[in-house]
Symmetry: C2
Subunit: 195 residues, 2 copies
DNA sequence: TTCATAAAAGGACATTTGTCCCAGCATCAA
DNA sequence: TTGATGCTGGGACAAATGTCCTTTTATGAA
């Protein structure tokens, strides 16, 4: 649900300092701001320094589907770069953020010349494939209630950090359905503590 | 649904010939054979030369979730390699296949030294991220009927090539539900042709 | 404060999907 | 032939989810 990548964060931070900020800038992002817009060109690669963003696609039905929540060290914009296509998702800050920004050409050059970064990016992409596969499979194969319990176990306070609508869009369900399940979860929890 | 990657197929075929088969072998795979097994070590990277495989995860509930169908040029085993983890899915031939097999160490070395292959693999990984994101979003945001129409448009004969059970597992629904939707689709088609 | 707006919660009903089960049909071996 | 087995399609009912709508509770701006 909330992805972080400490390895990348450390490496980019090191690069940022070592090269005396050349080619890498830090941006402040307000909550609600769109860093990347669906169906538009992407000219830079970003790495989350602090704060939280949601990555979502808007369908022709008007429904939003949240792919992931990006925390520290998560990279975005790189998929569009390697594919050389328009962005397939929107990246929106859900609180105050700081991000590293690296221009496309500069990032390409870094990946070509810095073999450690090259490996790190290969690994990062592979991780993205792995965890989205695992998550989608789990969501499809388990009832909503079980998915909520799983989130609760992994991120005990997710319900406070992330808006209900976003949680519903992440699970691919309606808010109504989410509420129903949360209610029955709490009821069964209370019943257990009474008995 | 059925992924192919001509660019990779061409490049690997070229490598296979140029290096006089060194480090790359071709394997014959029978229908039904498991090339990679979930939760086990992966010692090689594979590229589909011909035939079709399904890539699926089996959940603790016993349900299978099909990630994708791999056709010519699709790469697998590389995600596990870059992550250095056990396989998260099973790759099973659904008809007679031929695959290229490259040993892990050799593939690592190729990716490090052959900058064209390096770029190709980066692109391949990025494509996997992109199309799975698009597909899952579409599936979650549209009713089954619309998803079937979409498959029908993209792969007119998918219903003949792929078993019903596999289609259901790909869409994350039961066979019963798949049948119902297929039936109403055909009925509305017949009604249109009558009027 | 007050008003406007958004977020959260849930009632009522329609629709969809899942579960369980059975019938029909083909295949194959005894 | 006969019986066993597996595959497919679909009926009937239960359960889950979506849709629509109302009420309440924050939240923020004027």
């Amino acid at each position: 649900m909330i992805r972080i990548n400490k390895e990348v964060l450390d490496y980019i931070t090191k690069l940022y300092c070592a090269k005396n900020h050349q080619g890498i800038e830090i941006l402040d992002i307000m909550s609600g701001q769109h860093i990347i817009e669906q169906q538009s060109n992407v000219y830079d690669v970003y790495i989350v320094k602090s704060g939280l963003a949601k990555c979502y696609l808007t369908e022709d039905t008007g429904k939003d589907f949240i792919q992931e929540f990006f925390g520290e060290g998560e990279v975005f914009g790189e998929v569009e770069m390697f594919n050389d296509e328009l962005s397939f998702c929107t990246i929106e800050a859900i609180n105050q953020m700081e991000v590293f920004r690296i221009k496309r050409n500069h990032f390409t050059q870094l990946v070509e010349t810095d073999s450690k970064l090259n490996k790190l990016i290969l690994k990062t992409l592979a991780q993205k494939i792995r965890y989205t596969a695992l998550r989608h499979s789990y969501h499809q194969s388990h009832p909503i209630r079980v998915n909520l319990l799983r989130l609760q176990k992994q991120f005990p306070n997710f319900i406070d950090v992330i808006a209900k609508r976003d949680i519903a869009n992440y699970l691919g369900i309606t808010e109504r359905s989410l509420n129903r399940n949360l209610k029955t979860l709490n009821e069964s929890k209370n019943n257990r503590s009474i008995n």
